[in-house]
Amino acid sequence: MLTRRGFLGASAAVMAGAVLGCTRRDDERSLPTGFGDRSLRVLNWPDYIDADDGTTPGTVSRFSGETGVAVDYVEEYNGNEEAFADVFEPTLGQGDPTGYDVVVPTYWAVARLLDRGWLEQVPIERVPNHVNIDPAFLGMPWDRGARYHMPWQVGITGIAYNPALTGGREIRAVADLFDPTLRGRVGMVSEMRETVALVMLTQGADPSRATVRAAEAALDRLESSVGDGQIAGFTANEFVDALQDGSFAACLAWSGDIIQLQRARPDIRFVIPVEGGIRWFDSMVIPRGASNPAAAADWMNFVYDPANAARITEAVQYISPVLGVREELARAGGEAAQLASNPILFPDDETRRRLYFWSGLDADEEDRLQERFSSITG
C-alpha cells in the first residue's frame, strides 16, 4: 500500500534516487514543448487520484476527454522539504518557471511559497467551482479567501491502535501513548509538525498558536520517551505495516491510510484523541511563470465539480475540501455511500471543533525545531 504520504518516510537512498530522477526530468522539461496551449503539467503526490481502471477512465483521462487538454500528470512530489530543495529553489528561486502548471504542496509549504512571491493567483474567473471550497479552508491567515490555492485533500492525524495488542484497552488520548504498559510498542509520525502538535496538546498548549517554548517542551517529552524506550519509532505510513505485524500496538496515524487499512483489518481502530486531532491539507497552486495558467484553472474547476471530487475521494479516502461530495457519494450508493457516513471522512461539527491546524511560527523557527526533531528521531 503506497499513498500520498507513503513517501515521506522513505529511506534517504530511495529519496535521493527519486529526487535525482525528478531533477533529471525537470532539466529535460524546463522548457515545456509539444502540447502548445492545450497542455497541462501537474505535479502531485503518488497515488493521490483515481487512476484509469479497466474501462473506467480516471479523473485525468476524463478531464482530457472533456476539455481536449493533454495532461502530463507527474506523481513525483515526494515531500515538501525535497520539493523546495529540488524543484522550487532551483527554478522559482532563480526567477525561472518550474515547468509545472499545478503543484500540490502541503499547506505550510504553500504559505512559504506565497510568502516568497512564487505563486500566481488562481484565475477565479475561469473557476466557477471556486464557490465549492469548504469555508474551513478560506480563512488561512496567509491567503484569506483562497486566492492563491485550492485545497486538494485533507487529512487528520490521530491515533490508530490494535485492541488485541492493548489488552482490549481503549486508547482515547495521546497521553495514553505514554503509558508504561505500552512501552516499546508505540509509534509516532515522522512529520514534525503533527507529532509535536499532538504532544503539545497533551501539555495544554494550542498548536494553532504554537510557540517555540511550547514546541520545545513537546520535543523534551519526545526526547525522554525515546530515551526510555517508550517510543519504538517514527514512521510515515509504514505504521500500517507495523500495526499489522504487531510491532506497534498503538501509534499516531493518518486518517486516509487507516480507512484503507480497515477494509482488510476492521479490528484496527482510528480515533481522534480527546485532546484534539491535527488537521492538514495539501493544496493545488500555480507556480509563478506557469506556461498554461488557463489550463491549470480549468483543471482546478474540473476537480472542484462535486461529482468529480467524489470519485477522487472514493479512491484516496481522504477528506474532501469540496462541498457537495458527501451528497454525491450518498447518491452513488454501494461502497461509496458507506463512505458518505464515515465520521472520519466527514467529521461532524463537534469533531471539527477538536481539530487543529499547526500555525504560529515563522519558517526559521520551524526549521530549528525540525533540526531538533530530526536529531531525536534519528
Binding site: I124, H130, V131, P135, G139, R209, D349, R353
Partner: protein, 437 residues
Amino acid sequence: MSGPVARLRALGGTTPGRYRLWSGAVGIALVALALVGTAAASGLQSATDDIRENSGPVLVATQQLVASLAEADAAASAAFLSGRQEDPEQRRLYEEALARANAQLEDVSSLIGDDEAAHQSLKSVSVQVTQYAGLVEAARASNRAGVPGGEAYLVQALDLLGSAVAGEVNALTRITQDRFGRDEDGRDAGVLVAAAVALIALVTLIAAQRSLTHHSRRLLNVPLVVATLAMAVAAGWLTIASLRSGGDLDDAREFGYESIALTARIQSTGFRAKADQTVALITNDSARRTSAERSAIELISGAVTPGDVEAARVGDPVSRSGLLADAAKRADSPRERAAVAEMLVRWQRYADTVGQLNAAPTPDARRAVAVGPGSSTFNGFNFSVESVLGDNRAQFLGGLQDADDRLRFLPALTLLLPLGAAAAALLGFQLRINEYR
C-alpha cells in the same frame, strides 16, 4: 531711478540693444518658469506622495477596521454559541480579527497626522474596542464556567460594536474621506501658477521671434525655435502629467475606493444581520430577528437564484436589488464579476441556514444550526467578501502608485527644460547681436 530707465531707453534705440532687451525678458521668463514649474512639480509630487503614503492608506485602513471588527464579532458570537466546549477555530478567527483591528487602529493613528477630530474619534474607537474585548472575555469566561450571565455580556458587546463603535468609525471615515478630498483638490494649485508663467514665457518667446524676424528679415532663429519647443515640452509635460496623474487618482477613488467602501458596507451589513440573528437566538427577541431580516434585504432583496449568479458572472443585470447587486453592477472585469458571483452564492448559503434555523423545532436545534452550518456558511461569505476587499485595496493603492509614477521625472524636467530653453534663447539672440559687430 532715472539712470536705469535712461539706460534702457538708450539700449532700445539700437537693434542690438533691442535684442539684448528681448534676451533679458525671455531669460527672465524662462528662469521664472523653471523656478515656478519646479516648485509646482515638486508640490504636485509631494501632494501625490502624501495621498499615496498617507491619506490613501488611512482610508483603506479605516474601511478594513470596519471589516475586521465585523469579523471579530461574528467569530466571537459563534465561539460563544458553541457552548462550554468552545470552537477553537472560531476563537482563533476572533483573536486574529481583533489583533488585525488593533493593528489597523495603530496604522490609522500613525497616518492621521495632527487632525484633532480624527484623533478624538480614534481614541474613542480604541477605548470602545477594549471595552468590547472585555465584554467578550467576560461572556466567554461565564460560558466556559457554565455560570449564567454570559449571554448578557455578549449582547452588550454586540450592541457596543453595532452602535457606539460603528458610529465613531463612520465619523472617522468621513474625516479621512474629507482629508483625501482636500489633498486631491490641493494638488493642482501650483500647476495653475506654473501654467500662467508658461503662457507668459511662450508669448514672450513668440514676440521675440517675431521681432527678430522683423529686424533681421530671416524667417527663423533656430536656437530660439529650439527654446520655444523646449519650453512648450516642459509646459505640456507638466500639464499632461498633472492631468493624467489626477485622472489616475480619480480612477483610484472611483474604481478602487468606492469599491472598498461598498465592500466594507456589504461586510458590516452582513455582520449586522448575523449579530442580530445571534442576539435573537439568545434572547428570543423578535425585534432583533426583524432587524436581521432588514439587514439581509439591504444586502439583497430576495433569494439569490442560479440565474442571478450567472448574470453577475457574465456582467448582466442581477434581478434583485441591494448592496450585492450594486457590487455586481460596479464589477468591471471578469475577475471582479467572478468574485461578486461567489459572494452571492455564499450569502445565499448563509441565508438558507437562517431558514433552517427558524424552522428548527427546539432552541437546542436552532443553536446547533447556528453553531454548525450557520457559522460555517457565514464564514464562507465573510472570507469571500474579505478577499474582494483585498482586491479592491490592491486596485486602489495601485491607482495611487500609478498617479505617483506619472510624476517621477517631472521636477527635474520642469527645471532642466526651461533652463535649457533659456540658454538656447540667449544663444539665438547672441548670434544676431554678433552680426552687428
